[in-house]
Amino acid sequence: MKAFSYQRATSPMDAAAKATVTPGARFIAGGTNLLDLMKLEIEAPTHLIDVNGIGLDKIEKTEEGGLRIGALVRNTDLAAHEDVRRDYGLLSRALLAGASGQLRNKATTAGNLLQRTRCPYFYDTQQPCNKRKPGSGCSAIGGVSRQLAVVGASPACIATHPSDMAVALRALDAVVETVDAKGMARAIPIADFHRLPGETPDVETALTPGELITAVTLPKPAGGKHIYHKVRDRASYAFALVSVGAIVQKDGSGRVALGGVAHKPWRVEPADALLRRGAKPVIEHLLADAQPTAENSFKVTLVERTLAAVLAEARA
């Protein structure tokens, strides 16, 4: 860990302004990922801006009948919130499928969205990694890749996004609200928030330097059955091999997003239209461009079978 300076922000705009003043600054909220990365010097911010305690920890109803979730709402509180459990069960279930109780107590909504990949080569600073050190190469390609991406990857990076929560938000058509140093607010649809690796896997989101997430909004409830099915080698406290987040209506229509397969929560809207025809056509569409490695090609089969089980559960 490199030495760094630290200050508390007084408001969201103040936080963004402070971040703009100090190049190399990072926001810190729960710190459940950032601190680990700093210890390994994968992240080496010169300055930390603490965004706790600036009023971003509320869950409110929106005028449109949806929910606005403050960026600093803890994962535990979000999963347990009455409206979330009633109207957005997918989100509650995805959150509870992730991490551990202790981590969820600390981890925040925005921090969860911004958590970085768990690719083991990203974590080993002795190894090349384009995400950690642009231009150094990808040591995961041709290496140990069982956990890594099968679709949307690039010759520069085959990392996955590790979040369960983000998969639910993608299926729920969430919107990420931000503010920048000038006080300009903008709303980024979740589909556009995370990026594919392309040539620049180090650039992971649509956020500009200094831009601060203030909230995540959900549209009015979509109804239907909400199912989050996470598949993993051990029963708890493991990242998904694959996960399926689905909202299925009585008529069999619905939406589906996948976790554990790509650099971002994976949803292709036209595939939703195939849900009534069963898992196979949906996955064929979702993973039409899949290029799995020899070690992770099983994910293609696995995710189809998982979706089939989800659809069967929805019908039951």
Binding site: P120, D124, V144, S236, A309
Partner: protein, 733 residues
């Protein structure tokens, strides 16, 4: 005390204290966070500095340049130790690779330096500034290819590389029912909770290290060898060890580097290995490839059994002795076992919980399940049929105790094994396919010298000192129970001090030999003390009765406290063994039963319940013994379902080197465990009539899980760990 004839009735048989499920006497220290583990030893020396290890980023080659200038210039850095400035270093006899490398690099994350600074954060930050240039050398990293050039290793302490009886090839060729299958087990990491950590202090030419180590005497000796100083100048202290599993049997880099850092700075220096370095910097259980051939008559009698194992290690390293149990576990007139060793440039392979048998049983007990199915027998009955009551390689040589059949049959009854459907893939519970599997458990019992010193004071308190370690096993408690039983004292009148190289040399903790041998050594010392007490009291030692803190003889009754007086009474002795372990085969036996469920869609595997039945001699403390066995069963589930160090075969290292990516079971994976100990004593083992149990608990578990998964699904997986991707193809959705 020499133990060379089977034990007769002795004070331990009173079972007033021994054999009771006593809570750990060190439990309150641990549950209140006050047990002093190595990295907590802020108390032992003032003004401690912090060392952070610098490691190699290549698997094999040379460091061509090492630039420490930026690190040395970093804030409050006190010293940077490398092979260039450390002075001449020797190597411990228990180490294969150097603990401080340079210029040659023998494996990934091998230590090449230590940065010492005023704070941990400053040391860690400066360590990142050390620049290393390398010259890469090609290495061998893939056991499946390296095994082609494997050779017969020299015979080790656990037996010859090759053994043969009768005509295996001929009998196997003629056998009406045969199995010829190959199994693989992966590299595994000890993943103990407490990382390796040391505080080192020099006082003149004398060195003291507070560390975390299973074998005090081995490691104190190796530290002296590594530093090139006299053994008497080294004191090694390790009273509490937060798990070892074999990973702390030997001197590791934290100890040597702390000593070097302390010497370079003339300060007390502490070094802890960061978790992400442990998998590659320290040792691991080596991967194996195992071929098993079994030939049976149609009635299920084994007439030929062969087991070959290939593993790899650094040059000079040992082979994983995965075939040893096959020499002893089942009958059969024609037998062969063979161990082969390849050179691999991966980190150093070494002992991990039940080295040899744990890996060997993973394969053998799947093979037995496969063979039972081939001959159309129940797997329990098949094993019972092929039981042997003598060493199958040396007919006439008996086992000291062998209650395998009772373990199998009692386990089957308690587990309701008769409800198992022998046809695989037939039992469904909602989305789950459910199956039952079982395996025999087998681990040898090792006897070895162990010493202790006991001191009785004028308060009637007995203090035991031995360099025995408690690695979470319960040594403190069973040693206190042994001393209390032998001296006729209540447990609270016994104090136990462990893990200090100034104490008499014990057996240490490893190979499940610690419990039996260390308590036998304490028993020997206490028997000597009884003689001294009787003599001082003017009583006949043979007639004196020790009970309730007193000694009685004739009509006299004296308090031990009074006899000890202000001067106290001290006795020191050790247990040593004759040839009983040659005349009798001493082993521990058991049976593991597992019910597992497999998700029909995702093929996720979840354990439902487990049972172990163990025959391991006298159980000194059923509570701590049960803890040992359920821990071992949990570790066996890890081996079965998830634990594998993933090798990057291009770059030569274990990729998943932290606890996020090297998965071990969590609570949710282990819903229900039951342990039954047979009421057994083994008078041929020691005066305690006890044997080891902590490693018996893991041997066979993984195979029982594998067999349960097969019974659930009909898909036979022979490559561990059994992960869902290996079932998907065989289980149509």
């Amino acid at each position: 005390m020499k133990f060379d004839t089977p034990a007769t009735t002795n004070p331990i048989d009173q079972l007033k204290v021994i054999g009771r499920p006593t809570d750990r006497i060190d439990g309150p220290l641990k549950t209140t966070g006050t047990a002093p583990y190595a990295n907590d030893r802020h108390d032992v020396a003032p003004n401690q500095a912090y060392g952070y290890v610098v490691v190699a980023g290549i698997a094999k080659g040379r460091v061509t340049a090492i630039d420490t200038s930026r690190a040395r210039a970093a804030p409050r850095v006190l010293a940077v130790v490398t092979a260039q400035n450390a002075g001449p270093l020797g190597k411990g006899i228990f180490n294969v690779a150097a603990l401080l490398a340079g210029p040659e690099v023998q494996h990934y994350h091998q230590a090449v330096g230590l940065v010492v600074a005023e704070t941990f954060e400053q040391a860690r930050s400066a360590a990142g500034l050390v620049r290393l240039d390398y010259e890469l050398a090609p290495g061998a990293f893939d056991l499946s290819t390296a095994s082609a050039s494997a050779v017969k290793p020299k015979d080790g302490s656990s037996g010859p590389a090759d053994a043969a009886v009768g005509d295996f090839a001929g009998a196997f060729a003629k056998a009406p029912v045969t199995l010829d299958a190959t199994y693989t087990t992966p590299d595994q990491s000890h993943a103990m909770m407490e990382p390796h950590a040391t505080v080192a202090v020099w006082e003149g030419d004398r060195l003291t290290v507070w560390t975390s180590n299973q074998m005090i005497n081995w490691s104190a000796g190796d530290l002296a060898r590594a530093l090139g100083i006299a053994r008497e100048k080294v004191r090694l202290v390790s009273p509490f060890v937060g798990g070892g599993f074999g990973g702390k049997l030997f001197l590791r880099a934290d100890v040597l580097l702390a000593a070097l850092g302390a010497r370079a700075t003339n300060r007390a220096v502490r070094v802890a290995l960061p978790r992400p370095l442990m998998a590659n910097n320290t040792t691991h259980r080596p991967a194996t490839i195992q071929r098993i051939r079994i030939g049976c008559r149609r009635n299920g009698k084994i007439i030929a059994i062969g087991h070959e194992s290939w593993s790899g290690n650094l040059p000079g390293g040992a082979a994983e002795t995965a075939v040893n149990q096959t020499r002893l576990l089942y009958a059969g007139a024609n037998r062969m076992t063979a161990t082969r060793l390849a050179v691999l440039d991966l980190p150093e392979g070494s002992a991990m919980r039940a080295p040899g048998e744990a890996s060997g049983m993973m394969a053998l007990e799947i093979a037995m399940d496969e063979m039972a199915e081939k001959v159309g027998m129940d797997p329990v009955k098949f094993r019972v049929l092929n039981d042997t009551q003598e060493d199958p390689e040396k007919p006439g040589r008996p086992f000291s105790q062998r209650q395998l059949v009772k373990c199998l049959e009692l386990g089957a009854e308690r587990f309701a094994w008769n409800r198992r459907n022998p046809r695989p893939g037939r039992v469904r519970d909602g989305r789950w396919l459910v199956g039952m599997g079982m395996a025999a458990a087998f681990r040898n019992n090792l006897v070895t010298r162990s010493a202790a010193r006991v001191r009785l004071d004028n308060r009637g308190v007995l203090t035991v000192e031995t360099d025995m370690t408690d690695i979470g096993t319960g040594s403190y408690t069973i040693i206190a129970q042994t001393a209390a039983e032998t001296m006729g004292l209540p447990l609270e009148k016994v104090a136990v001090r462990l893990g200090d190289s100034t104490f008499p040399v014990s057996c240490g903790s490893g190979g499940q030999w610690g419990g039996n041998n260390s308590t036998a050594g304490v028993y020997a010392a206490c028997m000597k003390l009884r003689d001294a007490v009787a003599e001082k009291a003017g009583l006949d030692p043979a007639q004196a009765v020790f009970a309730d803190g007193q000694v009685r003889g004739g009509d006299r009754r004296l308090a031990l406290a009074d006899i000890a007086g202000d001067a106290g009474l001290v006795a020191e002795d050790h247990i040593e063994y004759g040839d009983l372990d040659k005349r009798y085969q001493q082993s521990t036996f058991g049976a593991h039963f597992v019910e597992a469920a497999v998700d029909a869609a995702t093929c996720e595997i979840r354990i439902r319940r487990m049972l172990a039945v163990c025959a391991a001699g006298r159980i000194l403390n059923p509570k701590s013994a049960r803890s040992q066995v359920i821990g071992a069963m949990t570790m066996g589930v890890g081996a079965a379902l998830m634990e594998a160090l993933e090798v990057d075969k291009r770059r030569g290292f274990f990729v998943n080197h932290d606890l996020a990516s090297y998965e071990v079971p969590v609570h949710a994976d282990i819903p229900h465990q039951e342990v039954i100990f047979l009421d057994e004593t083994d008078p041929i083992s020691s005066p305690m009539k006890a044997k080891g149990v902590g490693e018996l608990g893991i041997c066979g578990v993984a195979a029982a899980v594998a067999n349960a998964v097969y019974n659930a699904t009909g898909v036979r997986v022979r490559d561990y760990p059994i992960t869902l991707d290996k079932l998907l193809h065989g289980l149509p959705a």
